[in-house]
């Protein structure tokens, strides 16, 4: 991946103009159903085919995978161009590029550490949206404690035999491949050393998925079962026993900026402006709600919190202002951000008055029931990836030095 070197700022602004223009002419019309805000909300064939078509369009127009190698379907261009395209797409609130595990996790991993064969086999399908990827790390009863993984992979000649189950597999029922973490050595001295990393074909015999219905009523995740599933030994990534290290590297892609990611909009976030939009036209006690002093005070509290959240990123860049608790902002971003959105979306329902009772599917629901669904979906972020309560423990122990339970 190249850097900004050699690009004139004039070229960049011309490029940006091109993106804006492209967005104007290519953003799809309202499909008549609520589009997902995240890739964890792809629960029907209808939504899937819409998103697939959109991602394919973004890619074939040259605005996805711009910095990925050209020979594997990428654009071979400097990263900065992808950043500009992403910025503009985000701003225009175009639909998400849904193949997130491929674009943001598996893809960068394969580019950085994969063999030529792996690059040849997997990268293009990730970009085009043809090959959907899912992630098989979490297991039932283990939450995000990867060290406790029980799913076994046993070598048998040219194959591995997989047994066990995974949970919270996003798009598990649609995926062609899974990045799979499984135990190849149950006698390893350290439990992390017995893990291996696979690029597993979901079509293999013995792999079944069972969709999980979320509290929103939608689908999006599956539980995935491996019953003597045989996958080619060539699916092993790196060496046997290196799975933990590769998984950690993969998680870095998720957490650390968007360094190797193919680009595209991964999440449609809600901001306070969206909340204020619904507050504008609402009546309460015979008067416009926006005149109510309590409501105003509440809205400003949210605005202050939002501002502090966004500004924190910029403070972190200044070491002198983080000297007391160096990891404080980094380790609390997830807790603060996800909890902010939970409360903010919950408040959006309060603002709607009697209409807050309406849900997705009702013609009169405010913004199609977006907020009702967004509020409940938000729990995927306050629970997934370590619950808010676990996050608070982590911050207490690692930032403040408080004793463990």
């Amino acid at each position: 991946m190249t850097d900004q070197q050699g690009i004139e700022s004039g070229e960049l602004s011309d490029f940006r103009k091109g993106v804006v223009d492209w967005i104007k002419h290519n953003t799809p019309a309202d499909p008549g159903f609520l589009l997902p805000q995240t890739f964890m909300e792809v629960g029907s064939e209808q939504v899937l085919s819409f998103l697939r078509e959109w991602q394919h369009k973004v890619w074939s127009s040259g605005y996805l995978g711009m910095a990925w190698p050209k020979e594997y379907g990428g654009g071979g261009m400097p990263r900065i161009l992808q950043q500009i395209a992403d910025e503009e797409m985000k701003k225009a609130r175009v639909p998400i590029c849904f193949n997130v595990i491929g674009l943001g996790w598996a893809g960068p991993l394969i580019i950085d550490t994969g063999t030529d064969f792996e690059k040849e086999t997997y990268l293009k399908g990730i970009l085009s949206g043809e090959d959907i990827w899912c992630q098989g790390f979490s297991e039932p009863n283990h939450g995000s404690d990867l060290g406790s993984i029980q799913t076994r992979a046993e070598r048998d000649d040219n194959e591995y035999i997989i047994n066990g189950s995974k949970i919270w597999t996003t798009m598990g029922n649609y995926a062609k491949y899974m990045i799979l973490l499984a135990r190849t050595d149950s006698h390893a001295e350290r439990r992390y050393n017995g893990l291996s990393f696979f690029l597993a074909p979901m079509g293999a015999k013995g792999i079944t998925t069972s969709p999980i219905q979320k509290l929103t009523g939608d689908y999006g995740f599956t539980e995935t079962f491996f019953d003597n599933a045989r996958i080619p030994a060539s699916c092993l990534m790196g060496e046997e026993g290196h799975g933990w290290r590769i998984a950690m590297q993969t998680l870095q892609y998720e957490r650390g900026a968007e360094a190797g990611a193919a680009g595209g909009v991964a999440i449609l976030s809600t901001v306070m402006n969206d909340l204020l939009r619904i507050a504008k036209d609402v009546q309460r006690d015979g008067e416009p709600l926006m005149q109510d002093p309590v409501t105003r005070d509440n809205l400003v509290k949210f605005l202050i919190e939002e501002q502090a959240l966004y500004l924190a990123e910029n403070r972190v860049r200044i070491p002198a202002l983080c000297a007391d608790y160096p990891n404080s902002v980094a380790l609390s971003t997830k807790l603060r951000g996800t909890e902010f959105f939970r409360r903010m979306r919950q408040y959006a329902l309060t603002l709607q008055g009697a209409s807050s009772a309406l849900y997705v599917g009702d013609d009169d629901a405010v913004e199609g029931g977006f907020w009702q669904r967004a509020y409940m979906n938000n729990f995927s972020t306050t629970i997934g990836g370590g619950t808010s309560q676990i996050q608070a423990n982590i911050i207490g122990e690692h930032v403040l030095g408080l004793p463990k339970d």
């Binding site: 005070d297 501002q307 403070r315 860049r317 200044i318 202002l321």
Partner: protein
């Protein structure tokens, strides 16, 4: 729709150096014993420490070079004031800085030439703004009227910070129908004009001051008093926010110390999530305040404050006051029986919280004004 667009935070090498030396200075000069030793003193501060601060050039940090200053802007004092809050180092610094800002922004050349060098050398100024409990008041009953070629003041001001040690006061008054700020020197006050108050925060000093009968020349009327007063109030709010943020961090330190040493039921009490999680909440609230004060410090300049800067100052004050109130309150509670005693340092923070809450407007006041800026 909201107008928040500016998300910048910058911090110069100079500011980093100020922060580093302020941290050392405040820690060395104001350990908890030094703080407690001053609680019952007359002035509330150690004049040797104050003189050292002056000789370090802190009072003139933001003043023009021609008036003995270092020509940074008011944003450069934020790390100083934050450090003072962190160590409960009370001096007339904040009072004097706000008064200096008023003269710098609203004074004529003569007024600046007379007062700014004096401030840089340690003269103490303070604002006399309040007629009553209302920091949001825009009017005053302290009146200015002509008296021959001069002007006479009539009225009292409440809770004037550091009044007993002030060399001069900037008094909010009304001449005919217009608001004015006038400079009154301590020597002009009638005997017994200053009546010290008993404050909940024993590290602070304030008094009611009766200006009735004081005669001033027209040269003592601040040239652009009415014009710059809103900005001066915002600067006051920001400085209090910085001090409160530092103090919230100190309260957090005190809580963390106790939670990592005190055992109950055979366990360090910090291992209990019912104490651990709210302590993390103190950190998060304090961190947000810190982010907001340095954002405001980045935006603020010597000229008229922009709307972005106003938003930033008000957000900073609202957040910092809330953060410190929460931190002080929990600091007392988490110390258990010990927290109920005067010996426990949590007492210092909960009292400071009550003082900071209303200085230059409480959180609700600022949110109310933010609502107008952001929602309408």
């Amino acid at each position: 729709m909201t107008r928040i667009a500016n998300l910048s935070i910058e911090f110069s090498d100079e500011q980093a150096m100020i922060l580093a030396s302020a941290k050392d200075f405040c820690r060395d000069k104001s350990d908890i014993n030094a703080v407690r030793a001053l609680l019952k003193s007359d002035t509330g501060f150690n004049s040797d420490v104050w003189n050292e601060m002056i000789s370090l050039g802190w009072a003139g940090l933001f003043l023009p070079e021609q008036h003995g200053g270092s020509e940074l802007n008011i944003g450069a004092t934020i790390p100083l004031v934050e450090s003072m809050g962190r160590h409960l180092l009370s001096t007339p610094f904040i009072s004097s800085t706000i008064a200096a800002q008023a003269i710098m922004r609203g004074g004529s050349e003569e007024q600046q030439a007379k007062w700014l060098p004096a401030i840089a050398e340690g003269a103490i100024g303070t604002m006399a703004l309040l007629d009553n409990e209302d920091w949001g008041a825009t009017d005053t009953s302290c009146l200015l009227s002509t008296k021959g070629n001069n002007f006479a003041l009539q009225g009292k001001k409440l809770l004037v910070n550091d009044a007993a040690v002030a060399d001069f006061f900037l008094v909010l008054t009304k001449y005919q129908d217009s608001i004015a700020l006038v400079i009154v020197e301590a020597t002009q006050l009638a005997k017994n004009a200053i009546s010290n108050r008993t404050l909940v925060d024993e590290t602070k000093r304030a008094a009611n001051v009766d200006f009735t009968g004081v005669t001033i020349e027209s040269a003592a009327i601040l040239a652009k008093g009415a014009e710059i007063l809103p900005d001066v109030r915002l600067i006051g709010a920001l400085l209090i926010a910085a001090e409160a943020t530092g103090c919230a961090a100190a309260a957090l330190d005190t809580v963390v110390d106790y939670l990592t040493t005190r055992k109950q039921f055979g366990r360090l009490i910090g291992s209990y999530q019912s104490l651990k999680h709210p302590t993390v909440e103190i950190l998060i609230q304090m961190d947000s305040a810190r982010t907001l004060i340095y954002h405001a410090a980045t935006l603020i300049g010597d000229g008229k404050l922009s709307e972005d800067t106003e938003i930033a100052c008000r957000m900073a004050k609202a957040q910092a006051a809330e953060a410190l109130s929460f931190a002080g309150d929990r600091a007392v509670q988490f110390h258990g029986g010990m927290g109920f005693t005067y010996d426990c340092d949590a007492m210092l923070y909960i009292r400071r919280a009550q003082w900071s809450q209303h200085q230059y407007g409480d959180p609700q006041h600022h949110r109310k004004l933010l609502a107008t800026l952001l929602l309408d």
